[in-house]
Symmetry: C2
């Protein structure tokens, strides 16, 4: 129902391609394409080295174009959280989509079944997570109701276990065994393995704290896998991990797939983690370009507030690039940011100064924008290379 | 450049009109039209009683349709913060728009001048705020550059003074006098008065604290007005106020116009203020409809996280309407909300339970959605009456 409609890019936006960074009106979400490509290469190399699949979370970038770029770099597909996001990805040509979340509303499950059949027809694959018997039964019913002629579609189903996040998922152990059995009762469903993601572990600041948390996750997974396999049911794949903890899951020998997504853009919150020595050095690639539109004795005001960037994981950091030196960003409300010099000898920014903000959290920041302005050659002297549509923006259902 | 393109409503959305509330897929932003209309009537009555104009802030609802509804109820026009918002309002048929914010980029000022001429041609009026001599000069230049034949347009210009917010605006007193003189040097600009808004005062919790804060604002305005009028320049109008403090500005005898906008939807943060006895009783009219998609022993998970509602002013409250009784909402990330019973004897919500959330802050919440689903007859047994497009959503520039 709430599936976003694809709108054409305006002429002004199309004309922006080829122009210098200075031509980008503010506030705007700008992607440093070179930094993004380096992040992608580092992730691909990391996955190869650890012989592990990666299926980055497209809930972060919400762009089917970027999903396809990730698959070109070696990703097996993408994860999403919402059926509407999956619809955008499939419509955008992404053949392998995993809804790593529970869906129980029958009207939504009918859409899931439709997508599963669409992907089967092109030899793609849809997957989904479950954490209730009722959810499995409804999914099977939706798959059966959709079926009429053509290749019978089979959807991959992962059983989610709660490994410390305290959100979705059944407790490790027996409940997961029951779900695996129930999935196997339905021919249109295939038990694909376990979903085990610990979101809160991603932002534990020290590498040791993250290792400890994922150590418990691995124990939970081993315990559950053993119980399922003891009943003759193979657990083919364990999937999970985020940018904060991925080195731990990759080293565990238990996880077969990494869902990390933020590494590609790297926000201020992930950068505030102490980097694990095993972690590739990811760079900030996502910025809000902003401009000073008011300047007073001790502070200046830029034109980007929290309608331009999400502040759920903290305020943005200011990139030290402009002549003003190091600046601190304070909350100025929906449309404004307050800027103060971080050092005593630095000047207050002046009218027109360009301010580059590093968002606190990339996922909900991207969701605030209709497109990303892709820049090549760096922020200081680069040019606009392409406009990337955030086609799953607002895909909530 | 970033002006949103108008997209048609999907067929599924159009079909929703006339259906019961239960047919609304989740998560969705739902407007209780009856409550909204009562809020509008109370505001109109309040303004009549105090013989004061009201020009509600459309940055809150971002909808030209709702702006026109406000004008039908007696508003003189609307405020916006961004040129792109003004463009949406003007294109949507709103004839009186005030950009209550500073604009200094020449490319944006060219758009301002264009709008001023568009509105003049239909006997409407554009207004804008300034807080720098440079800003006034650039505005005048843009107005002159736009002028060619037709009726010469004049834009209303308010001098913003910083009355305690610490954001935009010049200090009260001399600097404002200089700006008033500068405005009067340019035939295409008209000095319209003072902009004096104290955003932080809106959320001081006690009525007395808000009265104290606005008491200082009034002194700052009187001091500045006296200095300007001492030089023979009349200050025709003082404009400002928000939903939290409007009774104080209305009673001041100094303010001639109220900009309060949130009263129409009333969010959880404004409801957390102790109500001033002089303040009309505004009701919650804006809700996120959500559904439980995972349920465990001690908590349940609904399908609305902070991509559905803004959390800059706190997490949403749960409306006590469903059979589960009083619930508390905890942050579950971008796509999930964690629900726990607030009392010991209450049950954990079950799969499929409908959860109505009262957003912490209405402005950035509305900005997350493409449309509001307008319901008549109440949330429990009402019907969808209309779909209201958030046509200035993402109008950032």
């Amino acid at each position: 129902m709430a599936q976003p409609t694809k709108t054409p890019l305006s002429e002004a936006l199309k004309r922006l391609v080829g122009q210098p960074v200075s031509a980008i009106d503010t506030p705007a979400l700008v992607l440093d394409l070179d930094a993004m490509q380096r992040n992608l290469s580092r992730m691909a190399e990391f996955a190869r080295k650890h012989d592990i699949r990666w299926r980055p979370h497209a809930k972060m970038h919400k762009s089917s174009a970027l999903a396809k770029l990730q698959m070109q770099a070696g990703a097996v597909g993408v994860c999403v959280q919402k059926v509407a996001e999956a619809e955008v990805m499939v419509n955008g040509g992404v053949p392998n989509v995993y809804i790593s979340n529970e869906v129980v509303a029958p009207a939504k499950l009918a859409r899931v079944a439709e997508l599963a059949h669409q992907l089967t027809a092109i030899h793609g694959q849809l997957a989904i997570a479950v954490d209730s018997l009722e959810g499995v039964r409804r999914l099977a019913q939706a798959m059966n109701e959709r079926r009429h002629g053509g290749t019978p579609a089979v959807i991959d189903v992962f059983v989610e276990i709660d490994v410390g996040q305290g959100r979705c998922g059944v407790p490790p152990g027996r409940a997961a065994v029951e779900l695996a059995h129930e999935i196997r009762r339905h021919p249109a469903l295939r038990f694909a393995g376990l979903q085990a993601y610990h979101g809160r572990a991603q932002h534990l600041r020290t590498a040791q704290a993250r290792r400890d948390a994922i150590g418990v996750v691995v124990q939970d997974v081993l315990f559950t896998r053993k119980q399922i396999e003891a009943e003759g049911v193979p657990v083919e794949l364990v999937t999970g991990a985020g940018t904060g903890s991925m080195v731990c899951e990759a080293a565990s020998g238990v996880f077969g797939e990494l869902q990390a997504g933020s590494f590609m853009f790297m926000d201020a919150d992930y950068a505030a983690n102490d980097r694990d020595p095993a972690q590739p050095q990811f760079e900030h690639a996502l910025f809000v370009k902003s401009q000073v539109m008011s300047s007073a004795l001790r502070h200046a005001v830029c034109d980007a507030g929290h309608k331009s960037h999400a502040i759920d994981s903290g305020l943005p950091k200011v990139l030290t690039l402009q002549p003003t030196g190091e600046l601190e960003y304070f909350n100025g409300g929906d449309e404004h940011g307050i800027l103060r010099p971080a050092g005593a000898n630095q000047r207050v920014p002046r009218l027109d100064d360009t301010i580059w903000l590093i968002p606190g959290h990339c996922d909900p920041t991207v969701n605030l924008h209709r497109y990303l302005i892709g820049v090549g050659g760096g922020l200081a002297h680069g040019k606009v290379e392409k406009i990337i549509r955030v086609d799953a923006r607002g895909a909530l259902t």
